[in-house]
Amino acid sequence: MQNERRAAIRAEAARLEQIFLNAGALRIEADSLLPAETLLDLYGEDIRARAYVTNDPMMGERMMRPDFTVPIVERHMAEGAEPARYTYNGPVWRMQDAGSTRATEFVQVGFELFDRTNPADSDAEVFALFAETLPKTLTVTTGDVGLLQSVIKALKTSDRRRAALMRHLWRPTRFANLLTKFAQPTVDETRTELLATADEIGVDAMMEKAGKFIGLRSGSEITARIAGLKDDENTPPLSGEEVAVVNTLLAIDTTAASALLELQTLQGAMPEIAKSVSIFARRLDALDQRGVDVNALAFKGEYGLTSMEYYDGFVFGFTDGKNVVASGGRYDAMTAVLGTGREIPAVGGVIRPDALIRGAS
């Protein structure tokens, strides 16, 4: 049974791979054991709860490939020509929560597009390819992480607060807590007292009173943060109108075509988001030209904000009601991080053949 099922998954994966090859992709291979440091730097310590870590006395920590994105981007940045279309087909490994019955090993077949000429059309090309390849019975949802980023950039508050919100974009609970905190006048007594003492005796004297100086974080870093806290104390709370723009965006749950109308209304309240709204509009045109019915395509403002923190534009997912069958999105910023200074706009997605044949049987 297990053997038959594996054979069926392999056959389905080969079929999908051929579709991607026909779409102009170059087939590439990737290592199964990846240097842990790269993934940890990218995703943070939380990845340890998602990927299997192995240890080699000489090579140090290696992670069982949790997805292909990192090796593919690294490979492209090192030796790829532009534009480039890649496909890959192989197993990935994911640690699941204790007690979960989700698979810890499964096959992914992916398609990635690296092209800087026309991002809207690249988004549409990838999405249309997935929509044509997958059964029409699946539930499709789209989103756009770039919209929330542009709203945060436009908030009338300090750089420090904008950066804090941007950093926690992918942690909805923490993001909501920060937004609430920043929308209220500061009432933290400990902090008020701290700043009063700093004014009175100076930060150097405070540190001296605190005892022996230990650790790598220097006195000037501590002094700089206290100066920052003072700025923060004087930062006026976010206006109710601006908070409403964030919450209205996150609550959008309609078709892509209607979402555009809602976004244009939001743009009335926050003109600075015009650029990202026009990116959204151009993508709708491109999708339309490639035969996607944008009047039926579902769009959610909060979609894509809980996955691994690298999507920063268009995001999409196909589910069979229970399982994610395919997902993908744009990850321009990640290529800049992995490309050490160089960057290339990138969009792509993966299909899980096991979920696809389960749905079909």
Binding site: E45, K212, R217
Partner: protein, 232 residues
């Protein structure tokens, strides 16, 4: 035989023996003081199993012992599914240990996890690597920090003398078990006000996977003596 697992040495064993003795169940070591064997009197049919406190959670989970005495911290760290595998029968009122996050006293600007998160972001920008938190409780600490929503940190493994890692420049902060806090003070560290990730004490745990059917009479007698409602 109903198998009761208790710590194989030290203060935790002494306190455990005393706690049971006070309640009419006499536990004692037999043989030489280096031999890991013991005896129980007061209720018939109980076998004493001497184990390292760190082994007791897994033995309970596997059902190889019916009851075990260990710390809540070890149960949580070693058994991600502890709610399905063991139940807490009694908190024993000793072996108090809290899992805490501590930072240098000189970090006068840092009192809360929120502060730590802000510092982690700036630290990474200033130093080019993620702020290091030394611990041996990797699972509990990662879960606690993830629940709060802290980014840009890394856990570095420290199996002992964790409080010294900051002064030795191998970590910026620590997450460790503390009872009195004296070691923290001596090492110029302070606990974050909301930095208690887990409150722990020695407790009696019952295995949910052990074979209880064969030890029914013993379990009933033990419950009666100890005043426990149910054992399973």
């Amino acid at each position: 035989m109903l198998k009761l697992g208790v710590p194989s040495k030290g203060r935790l064993q002494d306190d455990t023996f005393a706690w049971f003795n006070d309640r009419g169940l006499k536990l004692e070591r037999t043989g030489s003081d280096r031999e890991y064997t013991g005896a129980v009197s007061g209720v018939d049919g109980i076998e004493l199993v001497l184990l390292s406190a760190g082994e007791i959670p897994k033995e309970l989970a596997k059902g190889r012992i019916h009851l075990g005495v260990t710390g809540t911290d070890l149960i949580h760290e070693k058994l991600p599914l502890h709610e399905q595998q063991v139940s807490t029968i009694a908190e024993m009122g000793f072996g108090f240990a809290d899992l805490i996050i501590a930072v240098p006293n000189v970090w006068v600007d840092v009192n809360t996890l929120h502060d730590l998160d802000a510092v982690a972001a700036q630290f990474r920008a200033d130093h080019g690597f993620r702020l290091r938190i030394a611990t041996k409780y990797h699972n509990l600490v990662r879960k606690g920090l993830q629940d709060f929503g802290i980014a840009d940190y890394q856990l570095v493994d420290s199996q002992g003398a964790t409080e010294g890692t900051v002064a030795n420049l191998t970590a910026e902060a620590i997450a460790d078990i503390t009872s009195s806090g004296a070691t923290l003070v001596a090492n110029h560290l302070k606990i974050l006000t909301d930095g208690v990730l887990l409150k722990s004490q020695a407790s009696v745990f019952a295995s949910k996977t052990a074979d209880w059917a064969g030890v029914d009479d013993t379990a009933t007698a033990l419950c009666k003596l100890m005043g426990w409602d149910i054992l399973k």
